[in-house]
Symmetry: C2
Subunit: 154 residues, 2 copies
């Protein structure tokens, strides 16, 4: 305790979270590399897969991501033929998304790699600890930050 080695900003919840995300992201990315998918893309394909031809908005909401960001992220997947979109029958504003046969195959292929990554990670931190951590992260994702901002003097 001679010279407090840089407070490493470990106090900021946001910075700490991002840092861990960078680290873990690279690990999953590396493991998924053989499939040509990034961790994010894998997650997105999976989300589309489990959904019933979900609308863009539904996916964005589930992943807690900006709708336009989702649109951008989806482009390479559409370009590579893993995903296709189509307008909703009843509401032409709504764009639905689904995997193509190629996309389903790719997802299956990547899932094997994902399992290895997931397994390796959980072997290192402990399955239970991982589950607890996910739970804590899900809680954060569920929080309602609703900036009370300038409380409208109702």
């Amino acid at each position: 305790m001679t010279q407090a080695s840089l407070p490493t900003l470990s106090l900021c919840n946001n910075a700490t979270l991002r840092r861990a995300a960078r680290k873990l992201g690279r690990f999953y990315d590396d493991m998924l590399a053989p499939s040509g998918l990034k961790g994010t893309q894998y997650g997105l394909l999976y989300q589309i897969h489990v959904g019933d031809e979900p609308a863009m908005g539904a996916i964005a909401e589930a992943l807690i991501m900006d709708l336009s960001a989702l649109g951008h992220t989806l482009k390479p997947l559409v370009r590579d033929g893993y995903v296709e979109t189509f307008a909703d029958k009843d509401d032409r504003r709504i764009k639905r998304v689904r995997l193509t046969a190629l996309g389903r195959a790719k997802l299956e292929e990547a899932t094997k790699l994902w399992s290895t990554a997931q397994g390796r990670f959980e072997a290192m931190v402990g399955k239970e600890h991982a589950a607890n951590l996910r739970s804590a992260l899900d809680n954060i994702a569920e929080l309602d930050f609703e900036t009370p901002a300038a409380a409208p003097s109702s």
Copy 2:
């Protein structure tokens, strides 16, 4: 339990972490907005601040981010005059970084906003829980994934 509502991919540690990061990131970003800084930039300025004219590599290592990514992220901060770089006296390969007077002022200004964000967040999840979470995240950041890959039949 009629129709297992989409497994929401909550099983993937990586996806869960990213999702929480998006959510929390937006919150901190919103709170820091008045300063014109993004959460990432704030963290970077802080890291530079606590370091002793750190080298690019040292910062990248501390934040667990790619060196080139750091270079890119640093650009807008240099452009806006918050940060300046200079070559190391003894090793011209090394580029050191430090805050400008403007940068220090901006960091101070943003720190007030950050405190509010940090406080609001911790009030919602509990100071202790937040500390535990950061600790768990730091552990992940410290993990050694060393892809054993093709074990070189030594």
